[in-house]
Amino acid sequence: MSTDYQTNEAKSLLRRVLDSDIWYSFKKSKVTMVAAGVALIIFLAALLAPLLAPHNPFDLASLSLMDSLLPPSWTGMGDPRYLLGTDDQGRDVLSTILYGSRISIAVGLASVAFAAVLGITLGLVAGYMGGAVDAVIMRVADVQLSFPAILIALLIDGTISGLTGGVNREETAFTVLVISIGLSFWVQYARTVRSSTLVERDKEYVQAARLIGLHPFLIMLRHVLPNVMGPVLVIATINLALAIITEATLSFLGVGMPSTQPSLGTMIRIGNDFLFSGEWWITLFPGALLAVLVLAVNLLGDWLRDALNPKLR
């Protein structure tokens, strides 16, 4: 996993994946295959929510308070139109879950992408430039670590809604979440990339590239990235699970998605109010789906880490 790649930079990622033992290890682990299957199903269901969902929970005119708090239909006290029951506003729980997982996954993916891009860039810059730039970036990283997503989100959300007066909260909430969750994750990428860059920086090919007039940055990027791809992929997968959970946690503090555009976390937060009163279905179904989704992604991350770690093979 080290020097071979420098001469084979043309090799595509897919090619390398298939060449490695990853595919073999994937087929060997039943747990991983199940996790991948479950994750795939949830991702697809979320993607196709508008097609699959029996109702559109965002179409306010279709909601009726008189249909609120209906239990799941199989309990005999519900309504056949609502398989998993309805929430306090009369929204179909099944449809809301489908739409909600779409939002949760979108927040997760976007914040991981944001963190990865930011972290890789800063790590590369820090490692390559060294000196003062490196020191500044790494000290910022230190302090960053002391401000986890929850604190950042509270501050950013407060600021944004103070600035906008809360207008278009449905749109800003997504951005706030992606930025605050993403900001708390970038350090890991930056540190990984930086250390790899430090190793590469003094290698001859970088000197050579400079001599022939190529921008050293481009060269670095093309050489460093393949080296760190494995760790970055592992971090990203585990972060995805963490991001989805963090979003849910933030909704508890009132800085998650608004209740008119609920994510799974928002639904759990709303359902929390109805736990003692016996309307368990409002919390249980989104909670279970969230747990299964995060579990599947985590298992994939686990497997990926073991599979990409040559020492463990």
Binding site: D59, A61, R169, F276
Partner: protein
């Protein structure tokens, strides 16, 4: 501030000393908010003031039914239209042993109107307090005022000598950098004394055995422990698990659970707070709407359309689970004798569409509804339900739910009334219609004190005229007639869209019974231990 509480050794000790001594009764309760400053003039807020009325007392009190009763003043009379005489209770002592005299009343009257006090409005600025003798105080007014003492149960009397010697004359404000004694300790005349106070966490009270109101009997409970429990679920759990004897508020959906639990029951009652929607009628163009060249809400037909689109009965039944009463007026019916003559406009989405079409909006329009999400019972859920109902009448409502800190900063006068459509709750602090007519319906003018909470900027000069007459009318029947006329105008104008009076819900242990007052003030002296 923390006190050593070695419970184990304490109980061990008492059991050794004497078993003949009757067991102390301790009453534990939890509320969602916390006690800030202990200075009774620092913050005009129901919970802070209400809790402090167990420690300090005013010249008047209010009983379980909110009727004005003698407090530190045994009696009073209006000896001239502009001169009131208060006869003070004799033999009353502050907790530190000082005698309560007329000088304390005069001192308190000056202090409550001094700079930094948040309760200045309790007494007219030009009212003059004169100590006739040690136990008589005259109040001289510049004009007649039949409701002078209506809010005096939360204007508490402090001890002049103690306040002066502890350097606490200046009312504690947030701007103070030095900590004054009166903001952290108390010295009242009331039935309970504060023993320990941990800011924002807990406050413990012990009974004042020498209180005049016990009438020679032993205090009902020896100790009251208050703890802040902010999260709804945790608060309800603390009651159900037997850790607390009283918690409030109990969310409407959990009332059934509290009732079904053998050791607890729910105490529910009407509250005075009216929850309503307000509409911007002042601006010529709405700020938060897709109609950019006019203000549709200035047209009474549009306001009627809004009204007809909302099913307040469904909101009360479903969102509030029956713990609310749909309201036709902007105040609780119990506060106005003529309220029976008013009825809500019917829920009729078809009529709404018709009215909108008549007003020139056959396809409806879009508007933002500003809403707090941590202030009133199920506030955000109410707004969401309203949005769904109005969608059926063709009006697209975007709910903007914010924490109260941000919500109030925008919509109130200080934020420039920055809203087009909003949800608010109001309970008249004087329990009187005049408050509602001036604060919510009075035309906003440059003058201080008129219509400060009239966020929508409704203005009908005839209503203002009637309110002015109501203020000085001493005859109750005539006064009610004037009030009824004013309400007729405001409801015909659809000045507001009243929704309901939210209910009070307390969860109480079977071990005690308590008195619930409609203003949500909890009086310790009315606790009784079950058998």
């Amino acid at each position: 501030m923390n006190t050593i509480k070695l419970m184990l050794s304490a109980t061990a000790l008492t059991s050794v000393v004497a078993s003949a001594v009757a067991a102390e009764t301790t009453f534990r309760y939890g509320f969602q908010g916390s006690l800030g400053s202990l200075d009774p003039y620092s913050l005009s807020e129901t919970f802070t003031l209400g809790t402090l009325t167990n420690v300090y007392e005013g010249l008047t009190r209010r009983d379980e039914n909110l009727q004005i009763q003698p407090g530190l003043a045994e009696s009073w009379e209006i000896i001239e239209p502009t001169r009131w005489r208060f006869n003070l209770r004799q033999g009353v002592k502050f907790h530190n042993g000082n005698d309560f005299t007329a000088a304390d009343v005069v001192f308190s009257a000056n202090r409550v109107r001094s700079e930094g006090s948040d309760l200045k409005a309790r007494i007219p600025t030009d009212a003059e307090f004169i100590a006739v003798d040690d136990h008589t105080v005259d109040v001289v007014l510049s004009s007649a005022n039949p409701i002078l003492h209506s809010e005096w149960h939360t204007w508490m009397i402090v001890d002049q000598e103690w306040t002066v010697t502890t350097d606490s004359v200046q009312v504690t404000t947030a701007a103070d950098t030095s900590v004054t004694t009166i903001s952290q300790e108390t010295n009242g005349t009331g039935p309970f004394m504060i023993a320990e106070h941990t800011t924002g966490v807990e406050t413990n009270f012990t009974a004042n055995a020498g209180w005049w109101g016990w009438n020679g009997k032993a205090p009902n409970v020896d100790r009251v422990e208050f703890k802040t429990i902010a999260a709804d679920a945790t608060r309800v759990a603390a009651l159900l698990s037997g850790e607390m004897d009283l918690v409030y508020p109990v969310p409407p959906q959990d009332i059934g659970r509290v009732e079904s639990n053998a050791a607890t029951s729910a105490l529910v009652g009407p509250e005075l707070r009216t929850i309503f929607l307000g509409m911007d009628q002042a601006r010529d163009v709405l700020t938060y709407s897709n109609v950019t060249d006019a203000n549709p809400l200035q047209d009474v037909r549009v306001r009627q359309a809004f009204y007809h689109a909302i099913d307040a009965v469904a909101i009360s039944a479903r969102i509030m689970r029956g713990q609310a009463t749909p309201s036709a007026l902007m105040l609780a019916p119990s506060l106005f004798s003529g309220s029976g003559a008013f009825e809500r406009l019917a829920y009729d989405p078809e009529l709404s569409k018709q009215l909108l079409a008549d007003a020139g909006y056959p396809d409806g329009f879009e508007i933002q509804l500003d809403c707090p999400n941590d202030r009133y019972v199920n506030d955000e859920a109410i707004c969401q339900a309203v949005a769904a109902m109005m969608a059926r009448a063709g009006i697209t409502v975007n709910v903007n739910a914010q924490p109260k800190a941000q919500f109030f900063a925008r919509v109130l006068a200080a934020g420039g009334y920055d809203t087009s459509f909003y949800l608010l709750g109001w309970s008249p602090s004087s329990f009187d219609s005049w408050n509602v007519l001036t604060q919510l319906h009075g035309c906003r003018t440059q003058n201080e004190g008129t219509g400060p909470f009239n966020i929508g900027g409704y203005c009908n000069l005839k209503v203002d005229e009637l309110a002015a007459q109501v203020l000085v009318e001493n005859d109750a029947a005539k006064r009610d007639e004037l009030i009824a006329q004013a309400y007729k105008m405001t409801t015909d104008d659809v000045a507001y869209l009243p929704l309901h009076q939210q209910g009070l819900a307390w969860g109480v242990s079977e071990k005690f019974s308590v008195a619930q007052r409609a203003d949500n003030i909890f009086r310790f002296s009315l606790i009784t231990a079950a058998k």
